[in-house]
Amino acid sequence: MPADTATMRKLKPIVAMNEALDTVMAEDDDVVLFGEDIGAYGGVWALSKGLQKKYGEARVFDTPLSECAIMGTCAGAAMAGLRPVIEIMYVDFMTIAMDPLVNQASKIRLMSGGAFDLAMTIIAPFGAGTCEAAQHSNSLEAWFLNTPGLKVVAPSTVYDTKGLLAAAIRDNNPVMYLWHKMLYDLEEEVPGGDWIVPLGEAAVRCEGDDITVVAYSLMMYRAMEAAAEFDGRISVEVIDPRTLHPFDLDTVLTSLRKTGRLLVVHESPTRCGVGADIVRRVCDAGFELLRQAPRVLGGKDSPIPFSKPLENAVIPQVADIRAAIEAMVQ
């Protein structure tokens, strides 16, 4: 049933993902879901809660603790025409699944001359802020963006979390679907029913005239918080790309026509990161729109340390974003 704004309710991101899975699994028997602890237990994040009971062990099941095998099963099943969805418990563990994703899934279509569609979705939480230290706090989206053949999604709002997952699973390409652990307890009002948020469409989260801040996932909320703190003194437009590839450049350029100032904020490492690429695209397509130097406020050049004050120091905080905006808008 379609989105029903008459029946608004509060929802958390993981429940939104679970609902999206339920919807697509109900309408398409080719959609299957597996990963570590995904079966009877329902996933350590509760992603698959109730789904094995509803769709059976043939479609929702546990795997051994073998990320390479999980990704390989996913890619092979996609080659066989299924529409597999897997959970990688933390995106950090993708280090073990890079070959079946990068050398296989992202390339098999091209290597076969276009004979295969690999319709597969990898769901993985990312990001720091939970004091889980250097091996459970990473943000690897730049690796995936630098890998031709993959699409990359990073939702922020609960509404997008549900709508983008539905779109990702229906897409005929390998999609990395990345959600942020710090948004786990977020609760937002959403309609009843189902909806889709198409890949490749940015959202303007708040309109402003002085500066364009591009931020996704958790950092979108931090950017909004920073923007609010100026109450009017500086008018900030916050753009949430929502999908990192394909990337909606037009919405950013349209905003820059107003503001002439660009700040990109993300938590993943700055070097060869998402912000660098947005700066490259903007320079390429709209250099004349830039009234001053575009800036990137990204993660520091450091693995994520454990202790809270150290962890905070390497990831953009609201105050850092506010300071960056202030430095750009005199």
């Binding site: 051994p64 390479c68 099963t73 890619a75 080659m79 079946p100 031709p148």
Partner: protein, 323 residues
Amino acid sequence: MSFTADELKRMYTTMVLIRKFELNTIEIFAERMKRGDFPGALHSSEGQEAIAVGVSSQLRRDDYVFSTYRGHGHAIAKGIPIEKVVAEVHGRATGASRGYGGSMHLFDTSINFMGGNGIVGAGLPLALGTGYAAVKRGTDQVTAVYFGDGGASQGAFHEAVNMAAIKKYPIIFICENNLYAATTHVSANCPIDDIGERAKAYGIPGPVIDGNNLIEVADTVGAAVARARTGDGPTLIECKTWRHRAHCMVIPEHRPGKDRKYWAGRDPIDHMRDYLISENIAAAAAIEQLEADAQQQLDAAVAYMQDSPLPDPAEVLEVVYAG
């Protein structure tokens, strides 16, 4: 396994066709290299034809196969038309992968030939996916996946065989142990005598056989396929064999002469020819005719390749992403 005389002759012809294909391809590549025009990597499967043909003799058209970078034989035996294989290794638009894959990446969805692989051991985790798909759909399709003695040292081998054993997926893991991984002897990749022995670590059968004996390969694979089709799970089959040449064209021969002499007397095609004659299945003249047939098929395929255009670069970016 009881084969009809025609089947045996057809299998012999296919082995010969693979052998002739490898020789012809090396010739063409060598010429181009002399002209300083590097045509890509080439890994000959000469000497391992009995495995490819024996395995394929037990598979249906809709059974899945994952191959390696040494996979010309696997592809031809499973049934990719020879002209499409020739065209692909020479980068033509009419090739099995339209010129996008090359020697290491032959694909044919019409017979579920799921591609070669340039990454050692990487086919094994992919095989889990088609194995699972067959179970999920309730078909009785099996998946065969090839790898080498070196491939058995990859973590992917362990993860894949382990998961297949747990899930009882219908997969035949075929280890072509030709005693060398590039220049490294198998003893430097495996501390025990037989890779098949490792099947015990997963609670599945692990027969160790003469990979140069077509009938023995066919019998062993046939039993494994029967197990798999009826839901009894995977089998790991180690085929002892020998490649006639060094790892690839750019690596000089380095293997001890005595090994080479030993294996020279164990060529799988010679073995099959003797078998056909001794069992009165075909006389020498008939066998020469089979060999001539193979030559004719190859010649036609090479001509087809030569008349085929190169792929159009303007199309590349339309191939990368699916609509």
